[in-house]
């Protein structure tokens, strides 16, 4: 499909009700905690109250003596000898020799009721020897910092690095020093961002069952049932195929439900309790203390700019801690940091650092928001210094198709210029601003992702279609996949049912992550529908006695392709399906691949803020998200993704943070004090869907879930400076921080 081709679609681009809507508004939808089974036990987890401590002993005798307690597990119940990510997952699931963060699981218990399990957990006596701990990434990278784990560094780390550096990277192209020499202005900035949590509404919940024969089942709230299967099997030493994992409906994930936390504990408890199913539902405090927030970052950026705004060179050095395990998204942060800009000279340096915090998980465009905060803030500062319009500077330096990306490869079809032009044309930019009000602009980027994908489609006897997909529906993907399938088959949207199926029903699927579900499962569904269409044309051809190639599929029916093919009335899908038993059996389609043709997505946000000069409180007056969707299959859900990304980014920018005391204990593990924005904090977020179709997808889809969280962090910092003259280079920009910056700026 050529980039500029414009095609009218019957269904793609419309906004029907979502197929799961009625169940969700009536409460019928079954989420993780809604699943129960006969004979079920409840699990509870004992967690370390220390940031870093040696586990001297665990006495489970009092818990085991309690009536109704059926199993207690500690690390001793898990297999030994694991390596790499399997070991990391096992160690995070259940602490071994040491507890590595506040909330780290050290034991678990299963009992006949939830209250009994909680009581038993309180009766498990753990003796700790408290060790020195480190929380902040800049402290953790000091040579004399408490060592989280000896020998955790991989081969990328040069000799002589501080012991908590476990991964190191350098990459780039051109000659940055030569590039800086060409600039009229070279500026450098130091920026910090705090760890934040995805804040999904639904806490983690699972029901696991595992027998002594190594066969098991799990019902779980997850973004990826095959990841749950693979990781649980790895941690417990099971054969993956013996574990059958069924995903529940999911109340938000944002990347945080692409890995395991307490799931292996339910299986281990079940096995020890003679195969009785064990349900574990996390509390909000457990979610905040012991699941996977994002990394915190310390970043240095240096940029060279000519007087006309042309960028000449850029260098970034990022340090990120992702908890007590390797895996902070410092690489992704660096890849995305300068992605919107055409740069001949660019250099990146990254450090992945361990600290006594929970193991980070993916969070919506992992790494990209931090990098954008540093880079987009500094570019804004330089535009102000040179008196340049930040929109014009972004357009002047914007990457286009064929340009070399800052992180190496050549860009295929992208829509950054179109996005920036649509932003510039939006009426929000002409709104007048009053006293203490300011406007900020920032760009953002996410690659989008394909991943292992397997989809099956089956035509029913009445001509309706069912699609089996392996990507849980977080953001409306059942609706978009039903739209594309129905469009392709030429049947009504309502005639397609899309089911998210268990691991036994399809080949391996990666989770719904990387904004991939509508791209990858959607593309696979369209290709599977194409197979079914080919088969239906063949059946019609056989009945008509003509060549299959002489039959075409139009508006949900087979028909002769032109007058030479013969004169037969169209044969509808219902007609063909109704006699499938006599014409060769079931009609289906299947596709599995790692779909090629991922389309990257750029966005640009414009925010207007008002700052209370006496309290430092920031009010969001107006917020605009402009982003390239490729094509919006269901525009309402695309807008929802744009708004949701902006809302999470606003929270990250203004108030959200992991707050630790001097003992390394998390101080705000409840939503009262972990301050995500509430609905009344935000204006209606304006959206513009730019459509530069992705030629790699049959309907032009790029993926829309992640880019939207990236620009808010710098856009708000830029708006605060516009309003007050004060520049904040650390998050969160909460009232105490803003008030202090205002006072400093006034004093200066």
């Amino acid at each position: 499909m050529a980039k500029d081709e414009f095609k009218e679609f019957r269904l793609v681009g419309t906004r029907p009700d979502r197929p799961d809507g009625l169940d969700k508004v009536t409460g019928r939808a079954r989420y993780g905690a809604d699943i129960s089974a006969p004979g079920m036990l409840w699990g509870a987890v004992v967690r370390s109250p220390h940031a870093h401590a040696r586990i001297v002993s665990i006495d489970t005798s009092r818990a085991e003596a309690l009536e109704g307690v059926k199993a207690v597990v500690t690390r001793a119940d898990f297999p030994t000898g694991l390596t790499g990510e399997d070991w990391d997952l096992q160690e995070n699931t259940m602490a071994g020799e040491r507890a590595l963060y506040d909330g780290h699981a050290v034991a678990a218990v299963a009992a006949t009721s939830k209250l009994r399990a909680e009581e038993a957990a309180r009766l498990i006596d753990v003796t700790y020897e408290v060790l020195p701990h480190v929380i902040d990434v800049d402290d953790a990278i000091k040579p004399d910092a408490p060592v989280i784990r000896e020998g955790a560094a991989d081969a990328t780390v040069p000799e002589g690095m501080p012991p908590n550096v476990v991964r190191y990277m350098e990459f780039g192209h051109g000659n940055v020093e030569a590039g800086f020499a060409e600039a009229d202005l070279v500026r450098e900035g130091h920026y910090k961002t705090e760890a934040t949590h995805q804040g999904y509404i639904e806490p983690h919940a699972c029901l696991g069952q595992l027998g002594g024969d190594g066969k098991g089942e799990m019902w779980v709230c997850t973004q990826g049932q095959w990841f749950i299967r693979k990781m649980c099997a790895g941690v417990l030493g099971l054969d993956a195929a013996q574990l059958r994992v069924t995903p529940s409906e999911i109340g938000g994930g944002f990347g945080g439900k692409t890995t395991i936390f307490m799931e292996p504990l339910s299986l281990a408890l079940s096995r020890k309790a003679g195969g009785k199913p064990v349900k574990i539902v996390m509390t909000r405090s457990e979610v905040l203390r012991a699941t996977g927030p994002t990394a915190s970052a310390s970043m240095d950026v240096r940029i060279g700019m000519k007087k006309d705004g042309t960028l000449t060179a850029a260098r970034a050095e990022f340090r990120m801690q992702g908890g007590a395990f390797p895996g902070s998204p410092v690489d992704m942060a660096l890849y995305c940091a300068f992605a919107p800009y055409k740069l001949d000279h660019v250099a990146h340096v990254g450090y992945d650092v361990l600290a006594n915090r929970p193991k980070c998980a993916a969070y919506r465009a992992p790494g990209s928001p931090m990098g954008a905060f540093a880079v987009e803030s500094l570019i804004d500062e330089m535009c102000r210094e040179l008196g340049l319009d930040p929109m014009e500077v972004r357009l002047k330096n914007a990457v286009r198709e064929g340009d070399r990306a800052s992180y190496g490869p050549k860009f295929a079809s992208i829509g950054l210029v179109e996005t920036l032009e649509a932003t510039r044309a939006h009426p929000n930019l002409a709104e007048p601003l009053g006293p203490n009000q300011g406007r900020g602009v920032a760009s953002g980027y996410w690659f989008n992702h394909n991943g292992e994908t397997s989809v099956s489609l089956a035509i029913s006897e009445d001509g309706t279609a069912q699609v089996s997909i392996g990507t849980p529906d977080i953001g409306g993907s059942r609706a978009s996949i039903a739209l594309m399938t129905a469009e392709t088959l030429g049947i009504p949207y309502e005639d397609v049912r899309v089911n998210v199926v268990e691991t036994g029903a399809l080949g391996v699927n990666e989770p719904t992550h990387g904004s991939r579900a509508t791209f990858a499962s959607g593309k696979a569904a369209v290709l599977a529908a194409g197979q079914a269409i080919t088969e239906m044309c063949r059946r019609a051809a056989a009945e008509w006695g003509i060549e299959p190639e002489a039959v075409e599929w139009v508006d949900g029916a087979a028909q002769p392709a032109g007058p030479n093919a013969g004169k037969f009335p169209p044969m509808s899908i219902a007609e063909i399906a109704g006699k499938m038993g006599e014409t060769g059996g079931p009609i289906s389609g299947h596709h599995e691949s790692v779909p090629e043709g991922v389309g990257a997505s750029f966005g640009c946000h414009v925010v207007d803020v008002e700052v209370d000069p006496e309290t430092g409180r920031v009010t969001i007056l107006r917020y605009l998200v402009v982003q390239d969707a490729g094509r919006a299959i269901h525009p309402a859900y695309v807008e929802g993704q744009y708004q949701g990304g902006a809302a999470q980014g606003i929270g990250w920018a203004l108030n959200e943070a992991y707050i630790y005391d001097d003992k390394g204990r998390l101080q705000n593990p409840v939503f009262l004090d972990y301050r995500v924005p509430v609905a009344s904090d935000l204006p209606m977020i304006d959206t513009v869907i730019v459509e530069v179709p992705n030629p790699g997808h049959p309907y032009g889809v790029r993926g829309v879930g992640e880019t939207g969280i990236t620009p808010p962090l710098p856009a708000i910092a830029n708006a605060i400076q516009d309003a007050t003259g004060a520049r904040l280079r650390a998050l969160p920009m909460n009232p105490p921080a803003v008030l202090a910056a205002l006072k400093a700026a006034r004093g200066a």
């Binding site: 006496e614 203004l654 301050r675 509430v678 009344s680 009232p735 008030l739």
Partner: protein, 288 residues
Amino acid sequence: MRYHTPSSFEDAARLAAQAQGLTRFLAGGTDVLVQMRAGMVQPDDLIDLKKIPGVGDITRTDEGGWRIGVAVPGAALSAHDALRAEWPGVVEGMDLVGSVQIQGRATLTGNLCNGSPAADSVPGLVAAGATVEITGPEGTRTAPVAEIPAGPGKTSLQAGEVISAILLPPRGAHGGDAYLRFIPRTEMDIAVVGCAVNLRLSGDTVAEAQVALGAVAPVIRLVPEAAEAIIGTTLDEAALQALDAAARAACSPIDDKRGTVAFRTEVAGVLARRAALIAYGRAKGDTA
């Protein structure tokens, strides 16, 4: 745990006096039930006051003030036009507590007895000069609301004593009150600083005033120095600056996850000025 539903405050006080272990009174339950669910409190005796006749009523007192039952929820206060017209600061303080759902249950008395230095409804009551009627083993007594908080999570009530009503004094002419709190969000949060101002005008001049601060000390605090800073003034800029300084001087807050010492102290002065201006406007007849 034993659950009791006495039909009079005398019975409630007797039950509490006889109880051996941990006792909690239950009105709206928006603190007690949450604390029980979170495992923070496991009472041996739970005494539900909602079956006592009259606990849901708001009535005019003989003196011309108001008697507010211990189970009157925030939503009922906000819906009471006459009360809101006379004591808008008291009502808006309670209205800031929790969500719409919480407002259907949460009570002034419960907010007071929870003992939080950040309780939103208490500064307004303190500034208004409200009193509580207390029923105990020795009979009934009254005490100023300001004397009930005794530190975070603590009250000055004795064993066997239970608050049986909150009493607001007659509003009188030319009076106005206001409560403001600072939170980083717009709702569903706990006050980082709270300030209530109640005043009465003589012409354009402040004749009487009371200023109460929340979340800047272990208890919600009446600040006479702040009141003196505006009494006898027309709330001109100099008076407001003096009020600001006096409010700041009264602060002895802590650094915690919700705010810093420096921030709380500075914002206490800001809120005192802003609340005073609103109260002044209301005393002049503003209805906002």
